[in-house]
Symmetry: C2
Subunit: 400 residues, 2 copies
């Protein structure tokens, strides 16, 4: 398998519309050219011709595990430790349920106010269902380390903050958590495909992530769940569906969990979405995530320098230190919502996150220096020219 | 919108491989011809060109509700009462969690041994998570009515038995359940698209179903959840993801459920799979489910008569009475596993369900009398000719 050079070889493997600079691949990755053909083949040749037989003949049944192994390589996970399916909300739920079960004498889930809200909402729902007096404790991101104590059952955080791009120190926090008897659940939504992750090296217990952001597998693409091999045969599957049964096709009346991470499967896997994910991984299999990271940091530095030089009213909220940031650059600006609408109207797609964050994702597979400089020019036009104050950019859309 | 005649107009709208008689549409429906183009358009024109903007411009965000309304018509549900997403395992879990919450002073979930195992497994998992002493009580299907009592919290059953095709009387059981203060959860896996369902008329509380069987939306297509409008603003969302939040894009730290069935959304919807479902519904929008049902019963009668005449060793396990059966015909046969392998090798695709059931699904949109008679001939060849006893048909595959 020939190695692909990041950007130089990979940009041509994506469809990007003319006249658009896309700095929102941290929300929905761009379309790999191989996706349409792959999905079409699965529809026509597998579903159409093989019909039900394709569960065996086309390998649909084993696909969530095989695709999991391809993702494992990107996140430093052991082979056989990653299962694909469902959505990230459901995967963090499964992880948290198993983690709380492992540490049942403690009642506090520690998270931070920079976690993505769905993680917090799912935890609230789980805590209510458990009805055993658990508490979801939120602290500021910079206070997480100090808040670790022997009272905490589970450390439940997202490595990279979806708004600011601030990155937690996974190795350090996991080690301190373990020293205090805390089980760890890491959300990799803004890590997988963005930067090297070393789950095995850090000794992480559980992790989950999505594939529609940096991995470029398409809107609503399936999520993944990592369970450390040392836990996989014992972790309780709270969402105990038939695909995670030890013998799904024996149709027994009683549940018996499959061995390993297989038990974290729930229902029938989304075969068409999985095909798109496989096509996106065809690119990831051939790039070096360390090269992606080096380019991401250089491009991020360039964007920061260009925007700060041109727009002093934008306040950088992403850490400057390389080791403390993910693969996005965010600025706080009071008129942020309107400014994002205005830059989008000029062909620069970024996004807005409440209350005042203008967010720009760096995806080196298809974004290079020219795009970054052009993005800074557009931001300058909108901010310095006060374009953002025009009435048409104040209208709030349903979804941003 | 011109009405389509079942089979006469609809058969040409499906891809069916040459030389195959497909009586397994109750497991995975055949491919509607419109799917490949629709999915391809969503990939290229929406994801590819619109990128993140498509959540608004292509209507992705509102799609689970709009598609739910198209399914509502097939199952006698009120507009705005059906939400699409996730898998059937997860949707019955959400329904059962909400139902138990509504009836929290009672602790017994009543189901039957004919329920599909994943429903039972998910209930086991929920009961363990709840940890409040709930009990899953299983009775034989014919004993369900007598087992209803004021001790039961939730009646949790599948209308049509996946093995035998036996159908419960939804109106009668729901009425008796309600008279005893029991909340009802109906699984429509083998009902939706197979026969007319009248959720509103029966006063059902919760229902869920899948779309990859009779609805023909493809492998791993999304499921749906019905919540009676009288409950929708109060039902607890146990899987409280951000898409079911009252204001998902406010990114608040605390959960607040959306009004109505919207709260039963969990994570990001599977847009590519939803496109396939929409293409399959383009056919369903134009057929009369009552005509589908009339044809299904006639074809089922024909298959029963032809097989019984040719193969006296096969014992019919599907009820003969029309009102007591779904849209499949099943026979018990000691060598059932091998016999199914042998008929498949001769071009008749049916399936096997443990311990001894040969199962043939009737899908009148693309199956007619000729296919039924030809199927009976193949079954006769295999059974009367003792072809099923050949060694090559005894080998057990991973998935059947």
């Amino acid at each position: 398998m020939t190695r692909l050079r990041v950007y130089d070889d990979t940009k041509a493997l994506f469809h990007l519309p003319d006249g658009v600079i896309y700095l929102d691949g941290n929300s929905l990755g761009a379309l790999p050219l191989g996706v349409a053909e792959r999905v079409s083949r699965v529809i026509t040749a597998e579903w159409g011709n093989e019909l039900i037989r394709a569960w065996n003949t086309a390998g649909w049944y084993a696909q969530p595990r095989h695709v999991g192994d391809r993702i494992a390589r990107l996140i430093g996970a052991e082979a056989g430790s990653v299962m694909v399916g469902d959505t990230l909300s459901l995967k963090v739920y499964q992880a948290l349920a198993a983690a709380l079960d492992m540490n049942s004498s403690r009642k506090v889930v520690l998270s931070d106010t920079g976690n993505f809200p769905t993680d917090l909402y799912m935890a609230e729902g789980l805590i209510a269902t458990l009805g055993r007096g658990h508490q979801l404790r939120l602290v500021a991101p910079e206070e997480v380390e100090a808040a670790l104590s022997e009272e905490i059952a589970v450390l439940y955080i997202t490595e990279v903050d979806y708004r600011t791009g601030r990155r937690h120190d996974m190795a350090k926090l996991t080690a301190k958590a373990h020293a205090l008897g805390i089980v760890t659940v890491w959300d990799l939504a803004h890590s997988a495909g963005a930067l090297p992750v070393d789950l095995a090296g850090c000794g992480v217990d559980f992790a989950a992530g999505c594939t529609y952001k940096y991995i470029n597998a398409g809107p609503g693409a399936p999520a993944f769940l990592y369970v450390a091999p040392r836990h996989a045969d014992n972790a309780r599957a709270a969402l105990s569906g038939w695909m995670g049964h030890a013998k799904p096709f024996a149709f027994e009346l009683g549940y018996a969990a499959a061995g390993g991470v297989e038990r974290m499967r729930v229902g029938t896997p989304p075969v068409l979405a999985m095909a798109a994910l496989e096509a996106s991984l065809d690119i990831w299999d051939r790039v070096d995530i360390k090269e992606v990271r080096a380019r991401s940091l250089a491009l991020g530095d360039l964007l920061i320098a260009e925007v700060e030089r041109r727009c002093p009213s934008l306040k950088l909220v992403t850490p400057r230190a390389h080791e403390r940031r993910g693969s996005q650059v965010s600025f706080a600006f009071e008129g942020g919502y309107a400014a994002v609408q205005a830059v989008i109207a000029r062909g620069l797609i970024g996004d807005f996150r409440a209350p005042d964050i203008m967010r720009f994702g760096i995806t080196p597979l298809y974004i290079g220096e020219n795009e970054i400089v052009r993005a800074a020019e557009i931001i300058e036009d909108v901010i310095a020219g006060e374009v953002w104050q025009r009435p048409e950019y104040q209208v709030v859309n349903a979804v941003t």
